[in-house]
C-alpha cells in the first residue's frame, strides 16, 4: 500500500542522459532519484530541507502542478548553485498520481 507507485518521474542529467523511475506515492522526488542509479542529486541531509543539494529544474509544463514553495524551501534555494526560476528542492515535493510523467532536469553540480 505504502509502496504503491504513483507514477513515473524522468530525471535528466546535465549531460542529457535520462532516467525514468517509478516513484511511490508519498515519497519525495529526491528519494526517487537517490534510491536508484540516478547520479546528480546528493541530498546530503537525507531530505530535511537543510542542505540545498537536491536542486532540480522543473520543466515548464509541470511547474504549475507542484505545491507552492514554503518559506523554508525558498530560503534554502538561495543557497543552491546555479539557481533558476524553475528551481525546486526535490526533497520537498511528494509524489502523487498527478505528477505521473513529470520531467526534472539536474544541475551540473549540487555544491
Amino acid at each position: 500500500m505504502a509502496n504503491r507507485a504513483a507514477g513515473k518521474v524522468t530525471y535528466i542529467e546535465s549531460t542529457g542522459k535520462a532516467h525514468t523511475i517509478e516513484v511511490a506515492e508519498g515519497w519525495s522526488l529526491m528519494e526517487g532519484a537517490v534510491k536508484h542509479l540516478v547520479p546528480g542529486i546528493d541530498a546530503d541531509c537525507g531530505g530535511a530541507c537543510a542542505c540545498a543539494t537536491c536542486q532540480v529544474y522543473v520543466d515548464p509544463e509541470w511547474e504549475g502542478k507542484l505545491p507552492p514553495k514554503t518559506d523554508m524551501e525558498e530560503t534554502m534555494l538561495d543557497f543552491a548553485p546555479e539557481r533558476q526560476s524553475s528551481s525546486r528542492l526535490s526533497c520537498q515535493i511528494r509524489m502523487t498520481p498527478a505528477l505521473d510523467g513529470i520531467i526534472l532536469r539536474l544541475p551540473k553540480s549540487q555544491h
Binding site: 528519494e31 534510491k35 536508484h36 546530503d44 537543510a50 530560503t75 534554502m76 543557497f79
Partner: protein, 420 residues
Amino acid sequence: MLAPRRNAQRQMDMAADNQDNIVIIGAGQAAIQAVQSLRAEGFEGPITLIGDEAYAPYQRPPLSKAYLLGQFERARLFLKGDDYYAQAGCELLVNTSARAIHRDVREVELEDGRRIPYGKLLLATGARVRRLKCPGAELPGVHYLKTIADVDGLQAVFTEGKRIAVVGGGYIGLEVAAVAAKRGLKVTVFEAMDRLMARAVSPQLSAFYAAEHEKAGVDLRLKTGVEEIGGHGKVEWVRAGGQTYDADIVLVGIGVVPCEELAREAGLACEDGIVVDQNAMTGDPAIWSAGDCTRHVGREGHAIRLECVQNAIDQAKHAALAMVGKPKTYAEVPWFWSDQYDLKLQIAGLARPTDTLVQRGDPASRKFSVFHLRDGKIAAVEAVNAAPDYLIGKKLIAEGTAVDPARLADTAIKIKEVMG
C-alpha cells in the same frame, strides 16, 4: 593469527586474479557511498558488501527521530531501492559477519568459514553502542538505539503513560526524550556532566535545549550518573544520585565504540579507531577504511574520530577515489544535525572550549546561531532553526575567511551579506 596453508606462488596468483574485485565489510552509510562512488568513478569490477544486520544499507539518523515517532515508514529508511544492487553489479550479503582478514592471501573469512578473496578491501564496520556497566544493566527493559531492530524493540513498549529513564543527555538520549515526550511518556534524563550535549555543543546551546526539554515536561537530572537498575525480572526502578526513580523502560545513549577488532587482529594499526591516512588508506595498501570506525587526521591536523553521516559519506568518497587511483586529500568540514521537537540543530566544524563565541539572533525566538571564532576566523557554527547561518558558516569555515564579529552578530545584516 591463522597460518596460511598456501604456497607463495598460489598466493601471488590469487592476488593477481582478484585484483579487480572490491570487498566491503559493513553495509551502512559509508559502505553504500563507496559503492556509489566506485561506480560513478568508472570502476567496473565486482563489488561485494558484507553486512551483519538483516537489512540492506539504511539511514540511521531517522531511527531516533521520525522513525521512532512512527512518522517515517520503514521502506523509506533504505538508502537504495531493492533493484539497485543488481543494477550496480553489487553482491549484498546480509546477516553475514566477517571473522578474520587474511592479508597475506587477500581473503576475508566469514563466520561460516567461507573465504572471499579481495583485490581491494574497504572496512566500513562502523561503531557499536557503548554498554552500560552498572548493576542491573542486563535486565529486560534496558534498551539501546543503533539499529532498526533496536527501534522496533523499543516501539513495542513505547506507549503513552510509560516511564522512561534516559541514560545520557547526548544527541541520541535527547532525541529519544523529545519523541517520548511527544508520545506522552513520562521522561527523566540522567546526565553525568553538568550540561546537555557537553561533548558536542556550546554552553549556550546546552542551556537552550535544557529549557526546551523542561518545557516539554522532561525531568532533567544533570550531574547525576545512574548507579543501579533494579526490578523483578525486568526494569522497575533506576537509582541515580542516591535517589530511586520508578521506570518501565531504560534507554541508554552513552556513546559508541569503533568496530576495529577485525582490523586489529589482522595487524592493522588501531588507536580507538582504525588508523587511516588522508586518503582513507590503512597501513596496508590494499585496505581502506571509512566512517565511524576510523581515526584520521582531520583538517586541523589532529587525529580525530568522527561519528556522523558526513564523515561516512565524505571519507567513503575519498576511499573510492583512492581505490580507483585518483586519490584526493580528505579535508571536508565535518557537519552534524539533530532534530528535537520542532528544533533543527545544524552544526559545522569542530569547536574548542577556547573559541570566542558570537551569538546571532535571539534564543527566545527559537531561531539563532552561535559562531565559534578562532584567530578571527569561523571554526564552527551551531545553528538552531537557522539553516542559512549554518550554510554560510560552513562555507566560511572551509574557506578560512576572516570575519567581523560585530557584523556576524548583527541580524539587520543578512547572513549572505555578512562578508560585505
